[in-house]
């Protein structure tokens, strides 16, 4: 029995401390996914909590067909998408590049970018990441900040591996193009 199975067995046997360990272990992953899809304001912490309620309720049915992190990530991903769908109609950042066209991205109206108080490159990049289509943003975050493999990301987002790769490649290219439209190459590579 590996450590994940042991942890799950302990929780199912009624060990509260084991559940607290599970939450501690995966709260960073959950918060990254929720923050990327829902944003880190308002209901952020409530949604993260809701994710762990669902994790507990579904734990009995977890069959270890994938890693526990992928399974919890998928619950966080679906919960966040449901929350967004309930809260508001799809905004441009929820759509894929194909759905709204790369040009409309370039012509986007005042938004988070203009709200960035300092116009330095790092802030600009942060704002540009927030403007990426939601699926690109999520895949990029899981790859770079959670250091997940394409397979794990595809399990979490329920997308084919090639689609995940394509989202990540396109997201990076969009970020590069957007920054180079504003800054000189020397500013980026100084």
């Amino acid at each position: 029995m590996n450590s994940e199975q042991l942890l799950v067995e302990q929780i199912l046997a009624g060990d509260k401390a084991a559940f607290e360990r599970l939450v501690s272990q995966y709260q960073r992953l959950v918060s990254h996914i929720v923050a990327r899809i829902v944003g880190s304001e308002g209901d952020f912490e409530d949604i993260c909590q809701d994710v762990f309620f669902k994790v507990y309720k579904s734990l009995k049915s977890f069959q270890f067909e994938c890693k526990l992190s992928s399974w919890i990530g998928r619950i966080a991903h679906n919960t966040s998408l449901n929350h967004v769908a309930r809260k508001r109609p799809a905004s441009f950042s929820d759509l894929s590049e194909e759905e709204y066209g790369a040009d409309s991205y370039a012509d986007s109206q005042p938004g988070p970018i203009e709200m960035a108080e300092q116009a330095d490159v790092a802030n600009r990049l942060k704002a540009e990441i927030r403007c990426l289509p939601q699926a690109y943003r999520t895949a990029l975050t899981l790859y770079h900040l959670e250091e997940m493999s394409y397979i794990e990301i595809s399990e979490i987002m329920s997308l084919p591996i090639n689609t995940v790769k394509s989202h990540i490649f396109r997201a990076r290219r969009m970020l590069k193009d957007k920054l180079l439209a504003v800054y000189r190459r020397e500013d980026l590579c100084a």
């Binding site: 009624g14 509260k16 401390a17 559940f19 607290e20 360990r21 939450v23 501690s24 709260q27 960073r28 918060s31 990254h32 923050a35 990327r36 880190s40 952020f44 912490e45 993260c48 909590q49 762990f52 309620f53 507990y56 309720k57 069959q63 270890f64 490159v121 790092a122 990049l125 942060k126 990441i129 990029l140 975050t141 770079h144 900040l145 990540i168 490649f169 990076r172 290219r173 970020l175 590069k176 920054l179 180079l180 190459r185 980026l188 590579c189």
Partner: protein, 169 residues
């Protein structure tokens, strides 16, 4: 001769450390191509900037608070229900044992073999007479009481089976 530049995908794959992009070929090209070297540096900046991007963290006591809430909402009510059910099951089982000790001996065939149907008739007759021993209680209610006792007994059996070391996985 026109140089074939590296694609965005090749540059990104190279920076990711993915050996599928054949790093030696990429490096050989980078040696001779300023454009691709510049593009690589731009991507290097993007990679570094994404990886240092801060994301909001949850409060330090988040895990403890969530565990408390989940336990209060999901586990403790279940435990209370399970305890009540166990008590009821034990009481029911004890009542059935008492019933059997008082009247059950009469089920035993007195002389020779008895058919299954006759045994069942005798059994239900015994249950009915026990129920009627409650005296003033309406006959419909007596059957309900006996039904509840039997259900409780099966509840106890269910609990015992649950404790057997059988796993689905």
């Amino acid at each position: 001769m026109r140089i074939k530049h590296l694609t965005d995908e090749e540059l990104q794959t190279y920076l990711s450390g993915d050996l599928a992009c054949e790093p030696e070929k990429i490096e050989a090209h980078l040696e001779i191509c300023d454009d691709c070297r510049n593009a690589l540096e731009e991507y290097r900046f993007i990679f570094g900037a994404i990886e240092t991007e801060p994301v909001r963290e949850l409060s330090p006591d988040f895990a403890a608070r969530v565990a408390d809430k989940v336990w209060a909402a999901e586990v403790e009510p279940d435990r209370a229900r399970a305890t009540l059910w166990t008590v009821l099951s034990v009481v029911s089982a004890a009542a059935i044992v008492v019933m059997f000790l008082m009247n059950g001996w009469s089920l035993w065939p007195a002389g020779g073999a008895v058919s299954g149907t006759a045994m069942m008739q005798k059994y239900f007759g015994w249950v009915k007479s026990f129920a009627e021993s409650f005296g003033s209680i309406e006959s419909g209610s007596t059957y309900l009481i006996v039904g509840a006792l039997i259900a409780g007994f099966y509840g106890l059996l269910d609990k015992l089976v649950e404790r057997l070391p059988i796993r689905n996985h």
